[in-house]
């Protein structure tokens, strides 16, 4: 069995704690159960620790590449195209009523 080299071991600073995991879960509207939090903390710290590899890269005065293409100014004419039917629009909705999608209550 081979061993993959993960790059040199960096000091293991705890980057993320339980509170952060819970806050991020709230931001992402992605429930994390109490008995999962610790596991996430451990995994995330390992992965984020690996991401710290990026810190070593010299990027001063380097522009980010958000788009690999050099395309600019891609437009569409302001001409209408027939919409899909409301039946088709609502077909996949778990809940609907009188042509509306039905979302949970607000408060």
């Amino acid at each position: 069995m081979r061993v993959l080299v993960l790059g040199e071991e960096r000091s293991r600073i705890k980057l993320i704690d339980e509170e952060t995991v819970r806050h991020v879960a709230w931001l992402a509207r992605l429930e994390v159960l109490d008995d999962e939090v610790e596991g996430f903390v451990e995994q995330f710290n390992r992965i984020l620790d690996y991401f710290r590899k990026l810190d070593e890269a010299e990027t001063e005065d380097v522009e980010p590449t958000f788009h690999v293409l050099n395309l600019v100014n891609v437009f569409r004419e302001d001409e209408p195209f027939p919409p899909i039917s409301p039946q088709e629009a609502l077909k996949n909705a778990p809940k609907s009523e009188r042509g509306f999608f039905k979302a949970p209550k607000m408060v």
Partner: protein, 478 residues
Amino acid sequence: MSEKVVIGLEVHCQLTSLKTKLFCSCPSNYRGREPNTLVCPTCLGLPGSLPVLNQKALEYGLMVALALNCKIPKRTMFFRKNYFYPDMAKNFQISMFDRAGGAPLGYDGYVTLAVGGTQKLVRIRRVHLEEDPGRLVYPGTIDTAPYTLVDYNRHGVALVEVVTEPDFESPKEARAFLQKLRSILEHLGVFDGGLEGAMRCDANISIAGGARVEVKNIGSFKDVERALTFEIMRQKQLLAKKVAVVRETRHWDGERRITVSLRTKEEEYDYRYFPEPDLVPVEITEEMLDQIKARLPELPDARQKRFVSQYGLPGYDAMVLTSDKALADFFEKAVAAYGKPKVVSNWLMSDVLRCLNEYNLEIWESKLTPEHLVEMLKLIDEGVISGKIAKNILWDMVSSGKSPKQIVEERGLTRIADEEYLRKLVDEVFKENPKAVEDALSDEKAIHFLVGQLMKKTRGRADPQLANKIIREKLASK
């Protein structure tokens, strides 16, 4: 208690002149349509769908930025503003952001406002494009409904967001700004402020000694004064009681006419902006800008100056008239047909506006047309009706849309200039008021009384000069 009030506005205006949405080809005229009939994979946020920018929306956005005297970046791009809410199809909004290579369409602009006889400069921080969320319907009220209904017809409609610096010192100024902004957008031909919900705003308010409070969901510019006045009062009361005003976001409840707390600073959104990978950057070239500049129509400030020079109106009149495009258009149409700009302006500035105010209508909502106003002015000139009757029938013209001639006829309001008929009536008046006739020989006041009686008999329709003449003649021959 005269702590200084500081107000800044974030105004969302739909580009209602566009035929389609910002990033998809669905028709954008969603008003009065059945729910979810103007949607496609893109504006429903279906998996795998992609946005494509409406070129005209970009042009309109740039027109707005230029009209607000903004600087224009050479290059910009769209960002994702990530937050969850049931009116969002993707749970992020494609918007613009000014970091990491992004820029708004316009920045560092200004608008001049006439406030209390002086000119005030309101600084514009930024102008950018973004997509409108969908519409939520609550069976019952927002806090009691057991579920929420969502209609995505509005989702993706192009919005231009205008953010001011905190340059307003009163709710009145804020309202005046919205009025001016609306007039500018309407002059550009990109926006119809008369459409429900076409202009919505959020306001930041702080009073010296308190934190900044954001009030969201101000649905119309008629509401902005109310919302701000309420919020200032609330904050002043807190400060008077030495209670700290906390930094928070509040929601304007237009029905109850109060602001309610939505969330405090600690719960504030973390929008996690990053460049929209599905759209490519926008490069704003000199040629593009020159073309747009060449097509810019006359804007309110220029029109105001022209009203002064071309029509000889006082500056104030010109300012009031051009602060509403429909009013300015009305004025010019009437003057084209009638001439006498000062007369038209006087009627508009005083009686017409008072009447509209009373009915809570805007000029374009009312049934008054320039043609009818001109007809009315001509009836006065021809001596068919008196100015007083004209003021009277104006109300009817505004509310019913009938022509002045028709109203005058229906209500029998034409002026009575039949001398023989009036003489007969004067005889009756003399018979009915022997005491006054006695007095009139020595007392000018009694003459007025007799004229008044004649007017009463004719419901104000007697030609006043003729009436005077006959009465004096009859008295002289006594």
